[in-house]
């Protein structure tokens, strides 16, 4: 029996071995070297010198840009854990109740998601252009709040980028929720209706519990992605104006390749990974507590 098990395990290992080897080479070893480099003064050129916890001290006590970028990531997180979820849950629930034209809506909603971020960024950069874009037009017809360029105003730029990213993202989320909702048995809705539940109550007490694993999984993923955001910010504002859209991703990039502080940027990157993984850890804790996720 044991021999048989061993034989079966060997077979499994044989399948896993190649990818495990690749993983060790391209993930585990670089990750280990990252830990070491974060404790050095490496400029990205030449030999790194070990500096102990000097980088950590700087990160924790001196680096105001890191704190400011982290705050922007938290703002981003709050935005993406609310707005797209509200939009996509409402849309998905609505779509799950109709029978005609669902495919059309699915395709239309999913379309922005397949566009590359550079294209979306350029498109919205043009649309938000104060002279030639929509905002310029809205200002001309007297709608308040559009007299200044949204991407050029420190208090508004981050939200404008989040809006653009959400334009591209929320359709994807809707489709995921729609697929999950279609697996909720119709009988449950009918029973609730017979019991006198209104539309909102059916959504709250039938639909939402029915898609809880998908919902929680996506909350976790959005939590992780919110700390890794880079592309839309870089394409649209490069962290400006006045650092108002600087997020950890753009800060790490600037530190490594602008300031030539690859060692310190590695530590900032680890900080970024730490916050991103917090979402993963909370997911694990909830599972341990018996949540069905």
């Amino acid at each position: 029996m044991q021999k048989h098990l061993l034989k079966r395990n060997l077979g499994s290992w044989a399948f896993i071995a190649p990818i495990l080897l690749v993983h060790i080479l391209v993930v585990a070893l670089p990750a280990a070297s990252t830990l070491y480099l974060s404790l050095t003064d490496w400029s990205g050129v030449g030999i790194p010198h070990f500096t102990g916890f000097a980088n950590l001290h700087r990160l924790l006590f001196d680096d105001t840009n890191f704190i400011s970028a982290l705050k922007n990531n938290i703002r981003w997180l709050v935005f993406f854990l609310t707005i797209p979820f509200i939009m996509s849950l409402s849309a998905a629930y609505g779509l799950s109740q109709i029978k005609r034209g669902v495919m059309f809506y699915r395709v239309s909603l999913f379309l922005p998601y397949i566009l590359p971020s550079v294209i979306v960024g350029a498109l919205w950069g043009f649309l938000l252009n104060p002279s030639t874009g929509i905002t310029g037009f809205l200002d001309k017809i007297g709608i308040p709040g559009f007299d200044k360029a949204l991407l050029g105003t420190p208090g508004k730029a981050l939200w404008a980028i989040a809006f653009i990213d959400n334009w591209h993202f929320w359709g994807f989320l809707t489709i995921l929720f729609l697929v999950a909702l279609q697996n909720v048995p119709r009988e449950l809705y009918e029973s609730a209706e017979l019991d006198g539940a209104n539309e909102f109550q059916r959504f709250r007490y039938v639909a939402l519990p029915g898609i809880r694993p998908t919902l929680i999984f996506m909350l976790m993923m959005v939590g992780i992605w919110s700390f890794l955001v880079f592309d839309y910010v870089w394409v649209l504002t490069k962290g400006g104006p006045a650092g108002s859209t600087e997020v950890l991703g753009t800060l790490v990039y600037r530190t490594a390749f602008g300031d030539f502080e690859a060692g310190y940027a590695t530590l900032q990157g680890l900080g970024m990974a730490f916050f991103a993984s917090a979402s993963l850890v909370s997911f694990g804790i909830l599972r341990k507590r018996g949540w069905e996720i």
């Binding site: 030449g46 200044k148 050029g152 400006g240 600037r254 602008g258 300031d259 030539f260």
Partner: protein, 438 residues
């Protein structure tokens, strides 16, 4: 019978292989070796690569410049892992200094003698490319910050090109009163635009002597002379003199703000001499014309604050270092530099170049080159941040100034932060060698 046939067949195959081997060997020995360089994807850089790749003829070597986005980062990774292109093309001497300190680029001393670079290049540029007395990089694309004008609008407003900061301020007020924006500008595509202004004003307001002293550690950046410069640009930005407001400045692309200059929406353009090569295209069909002048200064004396657009070095990992040096000799030959200026709008390297080589380029650019060359030769020039400042301080100048414009930081705090960072880099030896003043 069969074995005889096999023998013939074996013989024939052996003979064919031998013949093919000889052919391949002969071909291999004749094929020129590639001398590789990678640079960015700007229109001028593509033109540059195309011209050099096609025109350098050498029996042993072939120039192979490739254009790719993020080429500097790719080179950095490749060189760190023992590879990389034969020639390292980088943004400036502060970058090559990093490579020189790390022992990853070649001492060009023997090649400088062989190809006469030690005499052909302006002394200030040789100094910039040196580390511990040895030459490690050659500087290309000599630049200076100048003031460009929409001449037609200036004439209409009966304004003369200002020579002093006081006159500039009067001009700014007059343009503003006319309803146009005194300056055009935007930094959404290139945040480095911020340092153009700081560079120009440090030299124009504080003066190149003060800048020299600060760069050599003899003066603090918190000196009131530098504060005056920061206050001036901050005042202009906060009053919306550049492109009509900070929000516009932060969102305008090059083509947009230069089109505004052409149409006269923005009358003056504080930019580098690289714009000479393409200024005409923004005035096409506008009925307007442009002119230029040295950047106005507090004293009224013309100052050319100079810098370089790129630095060239030989990768220590290169197996063809002699070939790379030969390629550089071609690149920095005055005929090649002249051709690159006329065909691609690339500013010439700091070498002695005559009007003959520059035949065909806009006379205003020739005028500028002659004047800048004279200023450089006299040793009385200013210093641009991207050539003479260490990398972290340069990045600080670019990024933190927006906090001052946005009132999140005072000009005093900005300069104090800059000074603190500069002193650290100065002590670490990260400041490029500053050519002495005459």
């Amino acid at each position: 019978m069969k074995s005889r046939k096999n023998k013939y067949l074996t013989g024939l195959i052996t003979l064919s292989f031998s013949f093919a081997s000889i052919l391949f060997a002969a071909h291999a020995s004749a094929a020129p070796v590639n001398i590789t360089v990678s640079m960015g994807t700007g229109v001028d850089q593509v033109c540059w690569a195309d011209y050099v790749n096609k025109n350098w003829k050498d029996p042993k070597y072939k120039f192979k410049i490739t254009n790719s986005q993020g080429s500097d980062l790719k080179d950095q990774a490749a060189i760190a892992s023992g590879g990389g292109p034969d020639i390292l093309y980088s943004a400036g001497p502060s970058v090559t200094l990093k490579y020189a300190k790390a022992g990853q680029i070649v001492d060009l001393g023997k090649y400088a003698k062989q190809y006469g670079w030690d005499k052909a290049f302006a002394p200030w540029s040789l100094s910039l490319g040196s580390y511990k007395g040895k030459l490690y990089s050659l500087q290309a694309e000599t630049e200076a910050m100048v003031m460009f004008y929409n001449k037609t609008v200036m004439d209409k407003l009966k304004l003369k090109q200002p020579t002093t900061i006081a006159e500039l301020q009067t001009t700014v007020n007059a343009i503003k009163a006319s309803g146009a924006n005194p300056f055009t500008g935007g930094n959404v595509e290139w945040k480095g635009v911020n340092e153009w202004f700081i560079s120009a004003l440090f030299n124009a307001v504080a003066g190149p002597d003060a800048v020299y002293q600060a760069l050599t550690g003899k003066k603090s950046w918190t000196d009131p002379a530098f504060l005056e410069a920061v206050n001036l640009i901050t005042d202009w930005q906060q009053k919306g003199y550049i492109s009509g407001g900070l929000d516009r400045f932060y969102t305008l692309k090059f083509d947009e703000f230069l089109a505004n200059w052409g149409t006269g929406k923005g009358v003056m353009n504080m930019e580098g001499s690289w714009r000479f090569g393409s200024a005409n295209q923004y005035f096409k069909d506008t009925g307007n014309d442009w002119s230029w002048g040295p950047f106005p200064t507090k004293s009224g004396k013309s100052i050319y604050s100079i810098g370089v657009g790129s630095s060239w070095a030989i990768n220590k990992n290169s197996k063809n270092q002699d070939g790379a040096a030969k390629a550089l000799a071609y690149m920095f030959d005055k005929k090649t530099q002249g051709a690159l200026a006329t065909k691609c709008g690339i500013a010439p390297a700091p070498i002695a170049i005559t009007a003959k080589e520059l035949k065909g380029i806009d006379p205003r650019q020739v005028d500028f080159l002659v004047k800048m060359d004279a200023a450089a030769k006299s040793g009385d020039f200013g210093y641009l941040t991207w050539a003479f400042w260490p990398p972290k301080t340069e990045q600080y100048i670019i990024n933190e100034i927006e906090k001052v414009w946005n009132k999140n930081m005072t000009p005093e705090e900005y300069l104090a932060g800059m000074d603190k960072l500069f002193q650290t880099e100065f002590k670490a030896g990260d400041v490029p060698p500053i050519p002495s003043r005459k």
